[in-house]
């Protein structure tokens, strides 16, 4: 088979337009963060009841998606599928870009982002959070080397081995991210055995959707289109991942209903939780699972427009899913006194309120903007985009 050759994206109106939009979104995020740090977090919807808000929703989404974005590269080099090679470089770049976006949001939301150096020099090795810092930095490093192996012809022969290391690393990374919640033993919402596998499948689904969307965007800027055969493969893959996430979500809720017995929490999320119930059924399940599954798996919806719609819906559903998980899990009160009705000045026993403010929404979106911006800068300076798709040349 013939190997496609790669080039960097040349300057064009499309390139600068998209860069400008991503830049403005990133800038708005920085302004939001600046406002939050300056005034203090009271200007956000976060409180002593809901301590992690929309910034964390975006950060977790981006970090989880980052590891999944590497999937295309993994399929190409670990599983030896040359037909995925044209997107391998881009998918590795996306992994780095998405992780940068997510981490930036996480850091800028800290109460003391100026103490980042403290976080880098003081480690509590019992903390899964501290381990995650290593996992994230290590991931960037390995994917960086992996890219080098792919770029440098003399190094190509090592790319499968480094690719395997990156593949294993990202599984550990996603499990680590999921474990952040697994360690919150007191909170019923996160007390679930399927959290780790759920995060792994979520990462595949979110990452593939973003690879498709941002990939198509970059190709469009470059005046080309993704090889239709490859697009169809990714389309089917995404369809299966969406079903996989839905399956584990179902298992998660069923275990909570029938094994751990967190009935009230389940009732809250599934039946009478207001906005959280709406987000769960309306956005996560209907818009983010059912509709894209139909669009991705039925042959009649194979046109590009449907594919873009489906991938966008997967992203929207994913954000809703993480929102329901993180925020919904916090607004539901901790049960300290089973068998009693509880009241206090500190919101014991009541469903907490959370409405995100503009500043924190801007910060979260800014992470997305930064991810796109990093991608755009990457494709401009290095040859990431295939000129000729390998698929076209296959015998």
């Amino acid at each position: 088979m013939k190997i496609a050759y790669f080039q960097s994206v040349s300057s064009s109106r499309g390139y600068w337009l998209i860069s400008a939009i991503a830049g403005v979104v990133t800038l708005a995020g920085l302004l939001g963060a600046h406002h939050m740090e300056n005034a203090g977090h009271w200007v956000t919807g976060m409180s002593n009841q809901v301590v992690w808000g929309v910034p964390h929703v975006f950060a977790i989404f981006l970090i989880v998606a980052a590891s999944g974005a590497l999937n295309t590269a993994s399929i190409a080099s670990v599983f030896g599928r040359d037909d995925y090679k044209p997107l391998a470089r881009l998918s590795a770049l996306l992994a780095i870009a998405l992780l940068s976006g997510g981490l930036a949001v996480l850091v800028l939301d800290l109460g003391r982002p100026d103490r980042l150096i403290v976080a880098m020099t003081h480690y509590n090795f019992k903390s899964i959070f501290a381990w995650n810092i290593f996992l994230y930095i290590g991931f960037m490093f390995i994917v960086g080397i992996y890219l080098w192996m792919m770029f440098e012809p003399r190094m190509n022969r090592f790319s499968a081995r480094v690719g395997t290391a990156a593949f294993i690393w990202r599984l550990v990374l996603t499990t680590g991210t999921g474990s952040i919640f697994g360690f919150l033993v007191a909170r019923e919402a996160f007390d679930s055995a399927v959290m780790a596998p759920l995060f792994v499948v979520m990462s595949l689904s979110f990452g593939t959707a973003l690879t498709l969307l941002i990939g198509m965007l970059i190709f469009w800027i470059n005046g080309a289109a993704i090889d239709p055969a490859l697009a169809q493969k990714l389309r089917r893959l995404l369809g299966f991942f969406v079903i996989g996430v839905a399956y584990l979500v179902a298992v998660d809720h069923l275990t909570r209903l029938y094994v751990t017995g967190h009935h009230q929490l389940e009732r809250f999320i599934l039946v009478d939780g207001g906005i959280y119930t709406l987000l769960f059924w309306g956005v996560q399940i209907l818009l983010g699972t059912v509709v894209p599954a139909i669009l991705l798996l039925l042959p009649r919806f194979c046109q590009r427009g449907y594919l873009i719609t489906a991938a966008l819906l997967v992203v929207v559903g994913a954000l809703a899913q993480v929102y329901v998980l993180i925020i919904g899990g916090q607004v539901f009160p901790l049960e300290l006194f089973p068998g009693y009705s509880v009241t206090s000045t500190f919101y014991d026993g009541v469903i907490a309120h959370y409405t995100p403010s503009l500043a924190e929404l801007a910060l979260g979106m800014g992470g997305m903007g930064l991810a796109v911006l990093v991608t755009l800068i990457g494709v401009r300076i290095l040859p990431f985009v295939p000129v000729q798709m390998a698929g076209e040349n296959q015998d």
Binding site: W42, A119, N124, S127, I128, L336, Y340, V342, S344, D348
Partner: protein, 249 residues
């Protein structure tokens, strides 16, 4: 900066420990008491693992509508607040309970339970959350980065994040925007040999619902009461072995 090793010892309690040990020395087998004497603290020694400070809340004595302990804590630590109850810090709060079956009413304070196996300490990425050798769980305000993971992990909702600029801080209670804080068991008073502000206030109000002391010291009134009556931990299922115990719940 490292509060873990530099806290001065409790002079008065140490005195009592030594004095009672001395009395016991005369009465009991000398070998046993000599060990205790060797373990007793003198001032300027670091917090010692031979002690474990704790608190007993006698729910039967705690009065509904009384918040003497809460006010005392706020005054002691300068927790003024900004009339924003969602984000203002509360180190101790009164919780009112109604039994779902019998409608029996109870009222009790909840604060950091000073867990022996504190989830907040386990999850803290920088080690800012730490447990002193004598069992008091604190936050080092110099290394807290304000990630709030400890607040997510605490089963008792005992921690507050500082959501805005502060004024009028007390020198013995360093606080700062963007960091997390919680009940210190009035470590500054304990290290002077006094009891926490909430305990004193409750006693002054005539309720005596709070008993402070050293769980490990058999001669301490707290240890005696814990030995003599049935008390329970909140969320005992989590097996955190809290230093705050409740009676009458």
């Amino acid at each position: 900066m490292d509060m873990k090793d530099s806290s001065p010892a409790s002079a008065r309690r140490t005195f009592f420990t030594q004095a009672s040990a001395g009395v016991a020395l005369l009465a009991l087998a000398p070998g046993v008491r000599l060990v205790d004497l060797a373990l007793a603290r003198v001032q300027d020694e670091p917090a010692s693992a031979t002690q474990r400070w704790g608190l007993l809340v006698d729910v039967d004595r705690c009065v509904s509508g009384c918040d003497a302990c809460v006010s005392a804590c706020d005054t002691e630590h300068g927790l003024d607040g900004n009339e924003r109850p969602q984000t203002d810090a509360q180190w101790i709060r009164k919780v009112d309970l109604v039994d779902n079956n019998t409608e029996h009413q109870l009222s009790l304070p909840v604060m950091c339970q000073h867990c022996e196996e504190p989830p907040c300490v386990d999850v803290c990425p920088t080690g800012a959350s730490f447990r002193r050798a004598d069992g008091i769980v604190l936050v080092d305000k110099h290394t807290c980065i304000g990630c709030r993971y400890c607040m997510m992990a605490c089963p008792y909702k005992a921690r507050s994040f500082i959501h805005e600029d502060l004024t009028g801080q007390k020198t013995h209670a360093p606080r700062g925007k963007g960091t997390v804080e919680s009940c210190t068991l009035c470590v500054h008073r304990v290290d002077r040999g006094e009891s926490p502000a909430c305990v004193e206030a409750c006693t002054d109000a005539g309720h005596e619902a709070l008993v402070f002391g050293d769980i490990n010291d058999r001669n301490d009134p707290l240890a005696t009461q814990l030995a003599e009556t049935t008390t329970r931990e909140l969320r005992a299922d989590l097996k955190l072995n809290t230093a705050v115990r409740y009676r009458g719940l």
